[in-house]
């Protein structure tokens, strides 16, 4: 058996074990506060059929994508700038520490107060939470860039855009991928809070409604549905991207 296949089986086994544990616990407790996997699956099916699930999943996913793209773009640009210029880095360091330590909840409330209860404020709030961590990661990469390789591009008079794409950027890929990975996980959690506080659709909004009715099966159903989306992005987007960009290392 190949290593890849045995690893896949190990992953599947660990997932099944988790499901089994949940099912056993629900069966023993027999409490409305912990629904069984079957009840959750039924709720998921019901909402999928009515179209309700897709509407909320779609709204949340759109916000995740928008905030992710915004945070990565702004964070990468800033990270490169700070990694290149010592003076700018010193100047912005205080802001960065502040940005890293402001609780997500504060940014969200302030954005809603300042920009109104709309999607622009929502996406902005999430992106603002993520940008400082992207900056810190990318800055680390920009500091570690190999000057000797950049000199090769300069000496051979490689056009600037080509040098950026083929000599500079590849040195940042490991850092960008790390930022993207941790970013995706963080962003969808914050998006739910944003939706809970000030939107009228999305998984976060729906969870709030379930909460008011103490509908545990509904809460778990939507959580699992979105976790599945994130896992799918990880498996079909992030990992192939990583193989493509960092394939030369193996």
């Amino acid at each position: 058996m190949s290593i890849a296949r045995s690893e896949r089986r190990l992953r599947a086994l660990s997932f099944l074990l988790l499901l089994l544990g949940w099912w056993l616990l629900a069966a023993v407790l027999q409490s409305p506060e912990l629904s069984s996997p079957a009840a959750v699956a039924a709720r998921l099916w019901e909402h999928a059929l009515s179209g309700e699930l897709w509407r909320h999943l779609g709204a949340t996913l759109a916000r995740v994508v928008a905030s992710f793209v915004l945070a990565m773009a702004v964070g990468t640009a800033l990270g490169i700038l700070l990694g290149r210029s010592r003076r700018l880095d010193v100047f912005c360091d205080g802001w960065l520490v502040l940005g890293l330590n402001i609780p997500a909840l504060v940014t969200i409330i302030l954005c809603y107060v300042w920009f109104g209860l709309n999607d622009v404020a929502a996406v902005l709030a999430v992106a603002l939470n993520k940008i400082p961590t992207v900056v810190v990661t990318v800055r680390e990469g920009a500091r570690a860039v190999d000057r000797e390789l950049l000199d090769v591009a300069r000496a051979f008079r490689v056009p600037r855009l080509r040098a950026f794409r083929q000599v500079y950027l590849p040195q940042l890929y490991p850092y960008l991928l790390a930022a993207a990975r941790s970013g995706l996980a963080l962003i969808w959690k914050i998006v739910l809070v944003v939706e809970l506080l000030g939107r009228s659709n999305g998984v976060g909004f729906r969870l709030n409604v379930f909460f008011q009715f103490f509908d545990i099966a509904g809460i778990l159903a939507y959580t699992l549905a979105f976790a599945a989306v994130v896992l799918a992005i990880e498996a079909w987007l992030m990992r192939p991207l990583e193989r493509r960009l960092l394939g030369w290392r193996s």
Binding site: L149, D151, R157, V167, Y173
Partner: protein, 246 residues
Amino acid sequence: MMHLQLARKTWPGADSAVLADIELHVAAGEFVCLVGPSGCGKSTLLALIAGLDAEFSGTLRASADLGLLFQTPRLMPWLTVRENLALVLPQGRCDAHALELLAAMGLDAATLDRYPGQLSGGQQRRVALARAFAARPRLLLLDEPFVSLDAPVAQRLRELLLAQWQAERPGVLFVTHDLDEALTLADRIVFLGGAPAQVVLEWRCGVLRPRSPAAVAGQRAVLLGAHPDLLAGRRGCGPAQESADG
């Protein structure tokens, strides 16, 4: 092809100059070796000529069609052999000339799509040598490219370099601290020495190529007979043995 009139090169924050009053030229198709003790500023001088360092006083006229070979191969590890060559070509992809070069360097088709990390050290040097010639440079700058290699590998690479130079005839400036290497390769040798480094001597090598080890030894004897303190850089910029060793 290349003409440098250097008044002074000083490192930021340093009081004394590394290089001063150096006039250096390379004619079209000429093979010039720059010899001097380790650490006397040869690489600094080459970086100026390559346009990597503009912090000096003086004037430089050099062809913009440059090829370079560094002390280490400096290939991009995330680009395949083919992509590494394409990177430095004007159109951004490998042409027939580039592929011929790789073949001339003894790299077979299978290596074209490999990454540098999958090649041996000697193969990486060959790719770097092919890259130096890939864009048909008019001026080729080489910074001790064959140090830290086994003697036979270095010898083979020198032969490849000479063959390709004779085929395409770029002007060459080859930095080395190895006198025998310079006597094997050069049309003209420029000796640097002193602190700040200056040109100590220029020497024409009239011997026809290929030059046998015996011919090189003969030249060496004549040269050091006339200038016994040449390798000490005359004003001393490093121990004499360091530069005399092969």
